[in-house]
């Protein structure tokens, strides 16, 4: 059986001017913009339609834990920096530094999830489930979906750090492109949080 080779995975496709993998990740991110855009629109409609937001009174910043979310924001911004440094290390041909920066990115992702766990756990202890009111419904939907994306990023990054690294020996340029695509996804996920945090916690 002959092996099927996907063309233009390293060199730019003459039609688009970029490799096919990068084109595919941008198409995927466009669909993600629509997904989160729809949910943000729902949030705006729920908020503007409510006589008071949050419905139970007070301010969002008094109901949600702003210091913890601030730490989480710093963790994600730092993880984007470590992610881009892992890609830059590949570009410079330094696999040891790639491993170090990628492992840091994965570790920071877990820190984010652990902090999020404590936030959720505290809300559940108070009996604040998504069914409590519209505020908690949209809060858990948006942050939960974002958390699932973080888990997705951890899976991809862990693959690149472990068995995916084998490609470095045979096709380092292709491997570097894979790291770049994972980095584009990771930056998008972090960018979503930078919009989610002020919208849900501060305003």
């Amino acid at each position: 059986m002959s092996e099927t080779v996907i063309p233009y995975m390293v060199k730019p496709n003459p039609v688009t001017g970029i490799p096919n993998g990068k084109f595919a990740i941008w198409l995927f991110l466009a669909s993600e913009v629509m997904l989160f855009g729809a949910l943000f629109s729902s949030y705006v409609l729920l908020r503007t339609g409510a006589p008071h937001w949050p419905p139970e009174g007070g301010l969002s910043s008094e109901i949600l834990n702003v210091p913890l979310a601030t730490i989480n924001t710093m963790v994600l911004i730092t993880s984007s920096i470590t992610m881009v440094l892992s890609w830059a290390s590949c570009k410079l041909g330094d696999l040891r530094k790639f491993r170090m920066w990628m492992a840091s990115t994965i570790a920071l992702s877990f820190v984010f999830l652990v902090i999020k766990y404590f936030e959720y756990h505290h809300k559940f202890e108070l009996g604040h489930y998504p069914s409590h009111d519209n505020f908690y419904a949209i809060y858990f939907t948006l942050t939960g979906l974002h958390g699932i994306h973080i888990i997705g990023g951890i899976i991809v990054n862990t693959f690149l750090l472990t068995i995916g690294t084998r490609m470095w020996k045979t096709d380092p340029e292709h491997f570097t492109n894979r790291v770049e695509n994972a980095g584009l996804y990771w930056h998008f996920v972090d960018l979503v949080w930078i919009f989610l945090f002020p919208a849900l916690y501060l305003l």
């Binding site: 702003v66 210091p67 601030t70 770049e180 980095g183 960018l191 945090f197 002020p198």
Partner: protein
């Protein structure tokens, strides 16, 4: 758009966010007098300066890499 270009965009958005966050924390401090808000305000402005410095360093480091 390459990861380099997207990262530069990301850092710019992060700088705007940290400045906005610092302003929010100052407003919250003047409303509540909370020490935590003051710490967050100072932290927000320091983070903005650090990100600007980092962004310039990053541009120098990856000068030879394409934006496409």
């Amino acid at each position: 758009m390459s990861l380099k270009a997207f990262h530069v965009f990301f850092v710019c958005i992060s700088v705007l966010f940290t400045l906005g966050f610092g302003a929010w924390a100052v407003a919250d401090y003047s409303r509540t007098g909370s020490t935590a808000s003051l710490v967050m305000a100072i932290g927000g402005f320091i983070a903005a300066v650090a990100l600007i410095w980092y962004g310039l360093w990053f541009l120098r480091k990856l000068k030879g890499v394409s934006y496409l």
